[in-house]
């Protein structure tokens, strides 16, 4: 147990902070500790969590990706056009097209990184501009509202009327998110491939010498993020019920902040699914709590930014660095 806490200090602190925040919000507001609020939180966080599951794998493998959010917009557009030309399609087809499209865009990043030895931040900043620029150019910024019914329909998997008369409900994105979380957990925590990804991110030179296939690592990491990107794009459309080409612009940095808050390290080798979920939830709960407390929506981001800034300062100023700096 002590080892568990020692090895996962960030996760441990996150739980404490989330518990404290939840206790405070439960006491300060009536609505926070309610089934309706909880399901709302899950529904709104689902897409970010799916993105986070992909990004954490890339971070663990020692890379970074700035392009995934606009890649998701590309996926949405391509999928919408493909489905329309196929006469509507269905969920299975939607997942296949979106997934393949996402994986392809991820593979483009991986190929540039691996075969031309360009570091991931340079590659993905370039592809960010390419993906977004081409998308806006070809679509002229026009949104698609005329989507197949199955795609934009709100699918409620579970619902319950609460005492207050409001309905608590969980929608499809939550189920899909749970599956993605489970699969990512299996991949990075419990499969040999996942452990190779950790090793590769931790010490690439040592990984090469022990016989880990570098190309495979890049393609798996960025391919997985691509897959998650495709699925997240699909789910975001289901949630928003429209395809807006610049809807996800800027989302990459929000997800990145949440994932790194959850203990993943820029530079590789560290990060867990659990921490990642905690990171996304902490930000979601903070926004949700501010909303319930009646704080102006304009102030949300400011407070969230301040929370992240303080959190990373404190989590990096661990006790031993403080002691070392004093001496």
């Amino acid at each position: 147990m002590r080892n568990l806490v020692r090895a996962n200090t960030t996760e441990f602190w996150l739980i404490l902070v989330i518990l404290a925040l939840s206790l405070f919000l439960s006491a300060a507001t009536e609505q926070f500790f309610s089934l309706v609020n909880f399901t709302d939180l899950m529904n709104t966080s689902a897409v970010n969590l799916i993105f986070a599951m992909g990004l954490v794998v890339v971070l663990i493998a020692g890379g970074i990706d700035i392009s995934f959010a606009v890649a998701a917009s590309v996926v949405q557009y391509v999928t919408a056009l493909a489905l329309m030309s196929l006469g509507g399609g269905n969920w299975a087809l939607g997942f296949i097209i979106a997934g393949l499209c996402g994986i392809t865009l991820g593979a483009v990043n991986a190929a540039l990184i691996h075969h031309f030895r360009i570091i991931s931040i340079v590659v993905t900043i370039a592809t960010f501009n390419v993906f977004f620029g081409l998308l806006m150019f070809f679509t002229r910024g026009v949104s698609i509202y005329n989507l197949p019914d199955w795609w934009s329909a709100r699918i409620i998997l579970w619902e319950q009327e609460t005492a207050s008369g409001a309905w608590a409900e969980l929608t499809l994105p939550v189920l899909v998110m749970s599956i993605c979380v489970f699969l990512t957990w299996m991949l990075i925590g419990h499969s040999s491939t996942g452990r190779q990804l950790y090793a590769y991110g931790d010490n690439p030179e040592a990984a090469r010498r022990i016989g880990i296939n570098e190309a495979a690592m890049q393609y798996i990491a960025f391919g997985w993020l691509g897959l998650m990107t495709g699925i997240a794009g699909l789910m975001q459309v289901n949630y928003a019920q429209e395809v807006v080409p610049n809807a996800l612009f800027g989302r990459e940095l929000d997800v990145l902040a949440a994932v790194v808050l959850g203990g993943a390290r820029l530079g590789g080798g560290r990060g867990t699914v659990f921490g990642c979920v905690m990171g996304v939830l902490l930000i979601a709960i903070a926004e949700n709590g501010l909303n319930l407390l009646g704080v102006s929506p304009y102030a949300f981001k400011m407070v969230v930014g301040a929370i992240i800034l303080v959190a990373i300062t404190l989590s990096n100023l661990s006790l031993d660095t403080l002691v070392r700096q004093r001496t």
């Binding site: 040999s192 996942g194 950790y198 090793a199 010498r209 022990i210 080798g269 001496t327």
Partner: protein, 500 residues
Amino acid sequence: MAERAGPGAVLAMQRVSKTFGGVKALDHVAFEVRAGEVHCLAGENGSGKSTLIKIATGVYSADPGADIRIAGQRVAAPTPGLARRLGIAVIWQDLALFPEMTVAENIAFETLLGARPRLASQRRLRETAQRALDRLDVALDLEAPLRRLPIAKRQIVAIARALVGEAKLIFMDEPTASLTQTETDHLLAIVRNLAAGGVAVVFVSHRLAEVLEIAGAVTVLRDGGLVGVFPTAGMTQSRLTELMTGQTFDNAVAARDRSTAAPVLEVRGLTRSGEYQDIDLTIRAGETVGITGLIGAGRTELGHTLFGMTRAERGEIRLHGRPVAFRSNKDAIRAGVAYVSEDRLSLGLIQPQSIADNLALPVLDRLLSGGLISPRRKAELVDSWIRDLAVKIGKPDDPVSTLSGGNQQRIVLAKWLATEPRLLILDAPTVGVDVGARAGIFAIIRKLAEQGLAILLISDEAPEVHFNADRVLHMAGGRIVGEYDPRETSLAALERAVYA
């Protein structure tokens, strides 16, 4: 020089060359090792030992024309994965471990390799790792992340990793660098055991006594070329050194009596818990005091405090009789203390930056003219030091990383001498410096001492301090446990005290 070939060779390499950026690191080298043999690979730093190991294990690819056979089979293009599958394991000099992963994962990583994804069984990892540790007869917390382990324990993890699986050939590149004598003896026993069981072991160590004790034959490399293959029977340390360097050395004790000179540094009762305790130390003008001891004895930590990088909890430091309390190494430099780090690659120099910039860094304030750096003054500084210390360089604008270890160390010395120090702390000044170039470094140091500089020479090589210091202190477990006068004590006695 024995001509050996044919069956029984686990690894046979012919005509191996390797060029890096126009420089030949290896030139038509042949190397062969047989089953059940302990074979030593000897040579100075930069002679090509590590490059040869990396080619044999597929980390580097050899220049065209090489012929590499593993277990009799010609291998056109070895890769690390292929080498491993063919039964080659390596203990790397830099250990090549994964700091964020657990001890068990580091040792038994082999069970996680392969392209086919499968469940990673923690139980199997632990069992495999435990078996390897049992062979070494050491206990480690298998679940601890590697980054929490001290360097000596990490070395054991690296050794244990090589013992996992059924290796037919194990390369051991400086496996004993941070081990105590007991641990070393244990490792040597295991090596003998492995050899008796038919495993071939290629052993690289700078402790030549160890090499001659364990190996049956030795392949000597010099400047990327093959000197020859020799049996160790009848070989002496001095003969081996001669083969490695192409020069003969007669070491003489350089110690002089400086007990009448004025003290420069006086340390009383210096303590920093967990690092060093109750250190009393005096260094006089023109005196060289050596501190030796095993890695982890607290030598470097003491050096850090004297240089203002850390603060002692108790005790007193006086410079020229006045007590000092450094808030940072900047204060220490201003007070006339300079520190040559043991880690030249990552702390001593800024490798990718130019020779000129590295030299200018600690004395930048003196190069300012009207608040801006004067290129003329900078060029003058660089020219004069390169001339003074006879550094062989191309252009001052070349990156430091293009220089040899010996010349890099001269740049480090120049950079610190430019600050006009009164006390020079040298922490392992010859790590990664050729035997041949070491003499040049020590000649400079001796000249500095003659000019009145007080020098603290820290080294884990007992001979180095024995021959170059005026007095030798032995440090163990954070304390100074003995003092020796090289003129009265033999090197053998000092080594017995340090390594026992």
